[in-house]
Amino acid sequence: MSDWRYLFAQNRGTLLAIAFFIAMFAIYTSNHPAGFTANVVQTAANKGVLLALVAMAQTFVVITAGIDLSVGAVFVLTNCLASWIVVGTAASATLGVLGVLLTGLACGAINGLIVIYGRLQPIVATIASGAVFFGLALLLRPVPGGDVYGPLADALTGRLFGVVPASLVALGAVVLLVWLPYSRSAIGRAAYAVGSSESAAYMSGVPVDAAKFCAYVLSGLTASLAGLFLTFVTYSGEASAANGNTYTLFSIAAVVLGGVSLFGGSGSAIGAIFGALMFRTIGDLLFVFNLDPLWQPLFQGLVLLAAVCVGSARVFQVRNRLELFPLARTRRRGLRTRSSAGSIRRWRSPSPA
């Protein structure tokens, strides 16, 4: 019995996101002029899955207490690439899909290398690498256009058995094939450990650099899945800066709403996925209530602002204000070499309880 209690407590963020999403989606469909029909669900699903995949990409990095502001750019780049190479026969399209995924992987690897071995702050490094990725996208598609291998696109954006949106099934498959193995693997565990406490992770012999690198690579890969899917939805590639920025921003919103801690160490991609679906539904709710769609961005912005503020409540529980000023940037190398005599006291004993 008590196992359930712990499972529940540890997945509270994810479960809350799911519950909120279901509630909102229920409100959405029950007020939708067309009601709960396969069509409504399919359209909502296709839109939601795009953001869900980008949010999942963001989650990998956020768990390690990093951030990837280039997810949107990778998303746009792979969309443009797919509109060139996922075409022709089934065989060439398959090769094209592989090429797109490899590109995403490479983008992630570049980010990882810059952040880990170049020791740059992830924020600035990924803004800059995002500019490069977006430039490449523009190079590929100075104007919107292109095509995509139709049968695959239709299969993935359509419905299975006439009811279930295929995109949701595909999303489920990604979770099953990527997220679940990852979160149960040693490297995934290491990512959580690094995000929660890098120094403790190091002291426990966790491969810190490998865990971070893997997170960035997976982030790039998942973002490329989203880019691929966008091509299937739109049948074309477009190097849209607005799209890239919006998706980067929304991915962070989704991650926050999905109960993933921006400080790293906790949360799951499943939460982020439901956060993304919830965020999409919030935007669409205004529509079914006949509110001017003009209010949508503001509403979404306010939801995001509120979500990040709620997460900060812990600040008021801190009893030693020095904890608010962490001895930041404790690189694990620093841990070994920090040789001031003062550091001996890191090892002091706490008083008995």
């Binding site: 170049g118 500019a131 430039g135 920025n245 509403f299 306010l302 995001l304």
Partner: protein
């Protein structure tokens, strides 16, 4: 900073190989005028970066500055007079939200400024859609941005010089500036030295918001009108200018003259890329690569000043 100025000179020489006019006073003055807008925005960015924080709300705060000031002109002569201060005040307000989140709620600056950026965007979408507002700039704004002072000195450049002088004074001569550097170096030590760190952070973000918005006001004056996406092109260049000018992205280190060099460098880079008809794609890639390369150079250094 020296590296940045050296790069400026190298870039000018490279440009002059392409065309003689690169070294003409007219061209240089024109570049400085264009650089002024980025310069004003980067000033605020720099103060925030010196704190060890970052402001990602630049794009829409710039837009808010431009759009709110032009909207004010719709209120008649009073609005005309208040256009500039009103636009700046809106930016300060958004900056205060950023600063409050960072200083008092201790939300990572990257996150709260992204959220504020989204809110600002939402506000502007509602603003333009709902009330079909006045979007042309006031005469004063146009004069400030496009006019010329004595000897053909562009007003915009003078504005930047005034803002810059103010920033140099603030950073080097006041207790506020000293506190900014101190917090950027070691917030814990600054706090334990009895600095009211929260207030300093709040003010710094408010200043950054105000300066971004002021940049937007000038841009609106320059283009005679405000537009929604007017700030999008300024986030990366503003941060890049500060970092290329030798300021540490981790805070606590950097001089305003370095930022000036960075701003000119970026502007020249843009100008050359456009003169050689580099497409937008190539510009983006060049930006990104140059910034990462410079960061890696500075990052390796890792020592103090």
């Amino acid at each position: 900073m020296a590296i940045a100025f050296a790069c400026v000179i190298v870039m000018l020489l490279l440009g002059s190989l392409y065309s003689r006019s690169f070294l003409s006073p007219e061209y240089l003055l024109q570049q400085l005028k264009v650089a002024s807008f980025l310069g004003v925005i980067a000033t605020g960015t720099m103060i925030v970066i010196l704190l060890g924080q970052i402001d990602l709300s630049i794009p829409w705060v710039v837009a808010v500055g431009g759009m709110m000031s032009t909207a004010a002109t719709g209120w008649g002569p009073v609005g005309d007079a208040l256009a500039i201060p009103f636009g700046v005040a809106c930016g300060v307000a958004l900056g205060l939200v950023n600063g409050f989140g960072v200083a008092y709620l201790r939300i990572p600056s990257m996150i709260i400024t992204l959220a504020v950026n989204a809110v600002a965007q939402g506000l502007m979408v509602v603003h333009t859609g709902g009330f079909s507002p006045q979007d042309s700039s006031s005469p004063a704004m146009r004069t400030l941005a496009t006019g010329e002072f004595l000897l053909g000195l562009p007003n915009a450049l003078i504005v930047w010089a005034v803002v810059g002088a103010g920033a140099i004074f603030l950073l080097n001569r006041t207790t506020f500036g000293r506190a900014v550097y101190g917090i950027g170096n070691r917030e814990r030590a600054a706090y334990l030295s009895g600095i009211d760190t929260q207030r300093v952070v709040l003010i710094a973000f408010a200043l950054a918001g105000g300066l971004s918005a002021f940049g937007g006001v000038l841009l609106a004056g320059y283009a005679s009108k405000a537009a929604q996406a007017m700030g999008d092109a300024y986030l990366l260049p503003a941060i890049a200018a500060v970092v290329l000018g030798g300021a540490s992205i981790l805070g606590g280190r950097g001089s305003y003259l370095g930022t000036v060099a960075g701003v000119i460098l970026i502007t020249l880079l843009q100008s050359i890329l456009s003169v050689v008809q580099m497409p937008e794609a190539g510009r983006q890639i060049t930006y990104g690569v140059v910034i990462i390369a410079m960061l890696l150079l500075y990052g390796r250094e890792g020592r103090a000043r």
